[in-house]
Amino acid sequence: MEQTILETAHLNKYFSLPERFQVLKDISLSVKKGEFITIIGKSGCGKSSLLYLLSTLDTDYEGTITINGTMVSGLKEHDLARFRNEHIGFVFQFHFLLPEFTVLQNIMIPALKLGRLSREDIEHNAMEKLTLMGIQDIALKPSGKLSGGQQQRVAIARALINNPGIIMADEPTGNLDSANTQIIFNIFQELSRQGNTILAVTHDRDFAGRSDRIIEMMDGRISDTKIATTSPR
């Protein structure tokens, strides 16, 4: 049975500066559990704005978003933070690790915040995720001293630590060379194969080609949805 993990109804978003501008127009979409979806489109089409809405970071919109059966629209900041912590894993274009901490600590922080497991268990899980990324040997390095590709893999491991219902990625390969881009592609594909739900914004059509479904956006609307032909499933 295919379970819906994320559903939006009639999302509208406006920017008021420099002048009032509707960046998202009546977006309704639903994501099934285990799906790997990419959102593509030209810059300025609203794909990143949509992702920030879906990630609950941006709360200034019209319409409703339901994730994992919870209607997140209208929740308070504190509850949203808690919800993100538990249900959403993030990967950004810029790798955004906390530079003062070691790789392992960076990965552990969201789990420590959730506070569901003991420190030892969290550390064990974090090492597991690092092994999954193939970078267990850098666990104790300060995260500021890693290469871009390594950092992005650490960021993905961090996104996975709380076993989130959905992983959201904003241009995850946007800042990487082609070799590292390839590695990240493979990791996302592997994660998808393991049953993770992934929603990624990208402008890289090769990357999009590997997903289950491509949502193309133009001028704030979903212009096209297609099932990718090269999908491994």
């Binding site: 504190h78 950004f92 906390l98 915040k113």
Partner: protein, 420 residues
Amino acid sequence: MKTSVNLLIAGTQLWARKRQSFIAMLGVLFGISMFIFMVSFMKGVNTYIQDTMLSAIPDIRIYNDIRTDYTSTIAGDWFRHDPAKMIVVHHPRPEKVRLNLKNAEAIISDLRLRPEVNIVSPLLSTQVFFNYGSAQLNGVLDGVNILEEARIFGLRDRMITGKPEDLLTADKGILLGQGLADKLNVRRGNLVTLATPEGTSMRFRVVGTFAFGLSTVDNIKAYVNLSGVQQLLAKNHDYITDIRIKLRDINTARSLALLFGKKYGYKSEDWESTNPSIKTGNMIRDTLTWVVSLTLLTVAGFGIYNIMNMVIASKMKDIAILKAQGFDGRDIRAIFLSQSLVIGVLGAGLGLLLGFLLSFGLSKVPFPQTEFTFMKYFPVVFESKYYFFGAGFGVLTTFVAGVLPARKAARLDPVAILRG
């Protein structure tokens, strides 16, 4: 669990910028140590000055003032049957009155029964000329019970030569102020002749010299037994002019002086009214101390405010990441506020320690010695209340300085930062 993550993050960030944190902490440290140092020293100076000045004056003095209030005149008596007349006497002279306290014995024994009163010392004081050889100096002769006088004014510690008790054993002994003795060029064992304005004179043998460190006393004053002055003035043995009182608590002087004045019908003055300069001096030094110290602490607070603002400006990305990962505004505020507080508490703690060490050091520095100073070292007081205040104010300053940037951090919009 949750708070421990926040503390872990706060601690790691603080540690990562050790130098900056350390400098912010130095600001608080110096502010508080200077506060402690200045307060301890200024309070020490206040205490010393007060002790010195009060050593020469009693807490309360009861005496018979020359009255210039003439409500009855001879002319008034003469014309009093004629209500149509108004009597005006221009510029009346002070009445010639006996300045003694008439029921002194009763007043003294009554005062000695009061629990607030520590020491009562009767006095008969008169202007005299000191003659030695052909030198003649003007001065004041105090006839006292030397044991009580010594207790009130700490005379024992003020003696340069001789002992207060020598006055009791010697026949017609006299204790001279050191300045006076120097001017007369007399020392222990010499005889000086004292003459009163009324023309009587008597010879006394110098049995000791004293110095209070106040030239107004040391250059003019001499002590003899009460009976000595009574003889010199040809008065009875119950003739005294002043009663001086030392209280158990100096701060009750004002109200008790009022009470005694009413009760005994004589002029009764407390030390505060006769020496307003002591209080004024204390107040000026206190104000100076507090203004400078609080300014230092406030400047330290601004230092922390600046540094925390810079830190937050450079940590915008990290704040956005933390928020994206499920930290809410309260967590962010806690993270940055706890950094300020760690700086504040460490700075305050070390500041108190440094302040104490500086004060302690100063209290061991010898004070430049002169004949009239009775201070071996710089005066410093150690009072825990200033340490508590310093710590409290230091932590409060850092808290206030930390709250504003931390609140700013908590309100940051992560989307705006992540978009770049």
